[in-house]
Assembly symmetry: C2
Homo-oligomer: 201 residues x 2
C-alpha cells in the first residue's frame, strides 16, 4: 500500500512536470532529462511509469479529460433541473478545456503534429465518454417529463458534443479562440439554442 501510494504520487508528479514543461517549451523541446530533473527523480525512473515520451503526454491529456469527466459527472448527479444541468455541463466542457491550456505560451501545434494519429483515436474515445454522461442527463430529463420524449438520448448527446467541439482548443490555439469571456458568451448562446429544442412543449 505504502509504495503504491508513493507510485501514484510520482506518476502524478511526472504529469505535473509535463504540464509545466509543455507549457513553457512545447513538445519537442521538452526532454525526458529535464522532466526527470523537474520531478527530482532519475531519468530511468520515468520509464518505470511510462513506456515512451508519447505515452507521457497522452497520459497528461487523459488526466485533463478525467478531471473534466469528474466535473461533468458531479453536475450530472446534482439535483438541479435537467436543463440546468446540461447547460452547466456544456459550459464546463468548453471552459475546462480552455483553462487547461490557457497558460501555454508555446503553440500546441508541435504537440499535436507529433502525436496526431494516436491522439485522434483517443479523441474519439473522449467524445464517447463525455457523450455518455450527457446522455444520462438527457434520459433523466425525458423520464421526468422535462424533455420531449421520442428522440434518442445518445444521439442528442453526441450532437451536443459535436456542436461544442469547435470551441475547444484543438486546431485553434487559445490565443486564436479569443478572450475567455468571448468564449464564455459563445458557449452560453450555443447552449441556449441547443437546450431550447429539448424542453417539452
Amino acid at each position: 500500500m505504502r509504495s503504491s501510494v508513493k507510485q501514484k504520487e510520482v506518476r502524478e508528479a511526472i504529469l505535473d512536470a509535463t504540464d509545466s514543461l509543455l507549457s513553457r517549451y512545447g513538445y519537442k523541446k521538452m526532454t525526458i532529462d529535464d522532466l526527470a530533473k523537474e520531478v527530482g527523480i532519475g531519468k530511468g525512473s520515468v520509464y518505470l511509469h511510462f513506456t515512451s515520451k508519447e505515452e507521457i503526454v497522452l497520459s497528461h491529456i487523459d488526466r485533463i479529460i478525467e478531471q473534466l469527466k469528474g466535473k461533468l459527472a458531479a453536475i450530472a448527479g446534482s439535483d438541479e433541473k435537467p436543463e440546468e444541468r446540461l447547460r452547466k455541463m456544456l459550459k464546463t466542457r468548453v471552459l475546462h478545456r480552455f483553462e487547461s491550456v490557457q497558460h501555454y505560451t508555446q503553440n500546441l501545434n508541435d504537440l499535436l503534429a507529433a502525436i496526431r494519429p494516436s491522439f485522434l483515436a483517443r479523441r474519439e474515445d473522449y467524445f464517447s465518454q463525455e457523450a455518455r454522461i450527457f446522455a444520462s442527463v438527457v434520459e433523466a430529463g425525458q423520464q421526468s417529463g422535462d424533455f420531449a420524449t421520442g428522440a434518442d438520448a445518445a444521439e442528442i448527446a453526441e450532437s451536443m458534443i459535436l456542436a461544442t467541439n469547435s470551441l475547444l482548443p484543438f486546431n485553434l490555439t487559445v490565443q486564436e479562440l479569443g478572450a475567455r469571456k468571448d468564449v464564455e458568451k459563445k458557449i452560453r448562446r450555443l447552449a441556449d439554442l441547443l437546450l431550447q429544442g429539448l424542453c417539452a412543449r
Copy 2:
C-alpha cells in the same frame, strides 16, 4: 468589354488550375511556373491577376465560399418552410465544404500553415457572411410565426454556424472527418437538434 470578359476567364482558369495543382501537390510544391504552364499563359501574366502566391490560394478559397454563399442564398430565397430551408442550408454548408476538398490527395496542413494568419482573419469574415444569410431566414421564420419570437436572429445564426464548424475540413482532413455518409448523418442529427429549438410551441 471584350478584354474584361477575357480577363475574368483567365482569372477563373488560374483558380481552376490552382485547385488542380493544390489537390495533387499541396501548397509548397505547387509552383507558379507549373500554374502558368497549366493555364497556358506566361508566368508574368499570373501576376497581372494576383499579387502573390498567397493571394492566389486565398482567392481560390474565397471562390469556394462565394459558391457556397450562392447555394445558401438560393435555398434561403426558396418558398419552403423556414425550418426546412435552414435544415437544407446547414446540410449544404457542411457538404459543400466537404466536397470542395474531397479530391485533395495532399494534406491541407501545409496550406493552412503557410497562410494561417491571413486565412484565419478571412475565416471570421466568411462566418459573418454565412451567418447573415442564415439570420435572414431565422427572421423570416419569426415573422411568419413558424419560429418563436423574442430571440435575436443574428445570435441564433452565429450559434448555428459555430455548431456546425467542427464538421468542416479545417483542422481535420477529409480523411479524418470520415466517410461522406457519416458526415451527412452527423449534420442531419445536429440540424434536427438545432431546429427543434427554434420552432414555435
